[in-house]
């Protein structure tokens, strides 16, 4: 159910936030098989719903007041545990609220629970969670994508109206595409990282995930704002867009770039067909299509798998068996305590990335790998900025394939990494990008497209995708 319908029902007193929240908590219970949540938080949700109802009675409402939201388990919510889907943090109690959590509280949006994800947000299928894999509600034999798989799965299944995810190389957009919903990765610095468990600090961003573009816009606007607690938080004002979306029906005057050469080998036939069909739809809606080149985008994955593990290996140094809940039971000395705790606490993918990160940062290799990757990063960024002199946005598929089967790719880390080929270059460049539902395969699996925008141009992306969505109306189809 979309926010506008919930808002109307709440404001007209057809339903209270308490009733609505109870209804979603019940739906979560009924769909436990999806494994979308690590912790469900009924006490917190109902307490927040009571407050929301009091606000609604006094007509002190924001677009989100009383609408329940799920939060990825990488984001601190005081009074709940935050595990990052890791055994290391299985008993970690959030000591404070993340900035984005405070925003949910200020808007009186009841927090339903903490959603499952890949451990420390490292993964593209949600199979790296130490709390078990999440299922894709369109076909439960398939992955929901990752790392924000729980957030995507619960929104697609209709057991949460909206959710927060985090995106480092595609972790909001890729699961949004696999589950047929909308996911926005804002410009780096738009949403505060304060209170979000760090993976790769120069790439991490929080992102809203909802059923429609309009809902995503409302959630994004509620979360945005400068936060002095995050030294990379931007001060640039946000152009409000959510309220205006309804009035937009044409894309006349908008220029959409597409890069035919950036369709690497291995892109599924139906994905390609959907991409070209969608370009035609954008043209029909008034947009001008412009062919562009992204000559360095294909190096995005190689660049990312230097920078992200390097930053992760540094960020994850803090998990030492001393500060954060878990400690190995046997250790002869301090050195062993640290090693034993880390070996027992971290899963396989996390350990692999720490090893790679330690290697590229080690003496003798730093210039050849880390510094080199940072230079290639500048090239990728320049590709995009050159193109944004002539187009408003660039369209790509979000993923090379529709959702794959559980177990299909988790034996080969590289195969899994290539699932992020379209999303990673955008993260490397720090740009905003939106994944939206663009159709279905013959067998009924959702397909997603990614609109990439210039720095701070989230409103352009929301505008373009909204007009497409209202014309295509794919969001009306629900999971079987």
């Amino acid at each position: 159910m979309v926010f506008s319908k919930l808002r109307k029902d709440l404001d007209e007193k057809k339903i209270s936030s308490m009733e609505l929240t109870k209804d979603f908590l019940q739906k979560i219970e009924h769909q436990k098989n999806l494994n979308a949540f690590i912790s469900v938080c009924p006490d917190l949700a109902l307490e927040m719903a009571t407050e929301a109802d009091a606000k609604i009675a006094k007509k002190e409402i924001t677009p989100l007041t009383g609408i329940p939201i799920a939060v990825k388990d990488m984001i601190l919510v005081k009074g709940t545990r935050t595990t990052a889907a890791s055994q290391f943090l299985k008993n970690f109690q959030s000591p404070y609220d993340a900035f984005v959590t405070k925003r949910l509280r200020q808007n009186h949006a009841p927090i339903l629970g903490k959603t499952n994800c890949d451990e420390f947000a490292m993964g593209s299928s949600n199979e790296n969670s130490s709390f078990g894999p999440v299922k894709n509600p369109w076909d439960t034999s398939r992955v929901p994508g990752g790392s924000s798989g729980g957030s995507a799965s619960c929104v697609a299944a209709g057991i949460a109206p909206g959710a927060l995810g985090t995106d480092t190389g595609g972790s909001v957009r890729q699961p949004a595409a696999f589950c047929g919903i909308v996911g926005l990765k804002p410009t780096y610095g738009r949403l505060s990282r304060s209170g979000v468990i760090a993976f790769a600090s120069s790439l991490d961003q929080v992102g809203p995930m909802c059923k429609t573009v309009e809902d995503t816009a409302f959630l994004f606007e509620a979360l945005a704002g400068h936060d002095p607690q995050d030294s990379t938080s931007l001060t640039a004002p946000l152009t409000p867009i959510a309220e205006q979306l309804k009035t937009l029906t044409s894309l006349k005057g908008k220029k959409i770039g597409f890069a035919p050469k950036f369709l690497p080998e291995g892109v599924d036939g139906e994905v390609k067909q959907n991409f070209f069909d969608s370009l035609k739809r954008f043209e029909k809606l008034g947009a001008e299509l412009v062919e562009v080149e992204l000559p360095h985008a294909e190096h995005g994955i190689a660049c990312y798998y230097v920078i992200a593990p390097a930053e992760a290996s540094a960020n994850l140094e803090r998990y030492d068996g001393i500060h954060y809940t878990s400690r190995a039971e046997t250790a002869a000395n301090l050195e062993e305590l640290i090693s034993n705790s880390r070996t027992q606490g971290f899963g396989s993918e996390v350990q692999r990335r720490i090893l790679i990160g330690t290697f590229v940062l080690s003496s003798g290799y730093f210039d050849a790998y880390y510094l080199k990757a940072q230079k290639v990063r500048a090239l990728i960024e320049k590709d995009f900025s050159d193109n944004f002199k002539k187009v408003d946005a660039i369209l790509t598929p979000t993923t090379p394939t529709p959702a794959f089967k559980l177990g299909d790719k988790n034996q080969s880390p590289l195969d899994m990494y290539l699932a992020d080929v379209f999303t990673v270059p955008v993260s490397i460049a720090g740009l905003p990008a939106l994944s939206f539902l663009s159709g279905f395969t013959q067998t009924g699996l959702p397909l997603g497209l990614q609109l990439i925008g210039n720095r701070l141009q989230e409103s352009t992306l929301l505008n373009l995708a909204h007009v497409f969505e209202q014309d295509a109306r794919f969001f009306e189809r629900t999971c079987p």
């Binding site: 360095h296 301090l334 330690t358 290697f359």
Partner: protein, 96 residues
Amino acid sequence: MKKINETELLNLSKLSRLHLGKEEIPKRLQEVNSILTYIDTLQNISTQTLAPTPFTEQAPVQKDEVQPSMDPELSLSNAPSRQGHFFKVPRMLGGE
């Protein structure tokens, strides 16, 4: 093309403070080397004239002002072992 051997892998795991069981070594070596081979493709890209500065827009520099810090009780609330306002650890040097 850089490939690491078993000794280098064991050194990496020591630097990473992770134990590698004997039976894990062949699989880990293969995984790490396949990733290193892949990221080695970066070496073919010409970047001589480039500075490694990724973002054109920077967040504002903040004033160096003293702010209240987190309550020590809260900071210590997730410690696996503590004594007063300290994190407690085993002795650093070997036994008596």
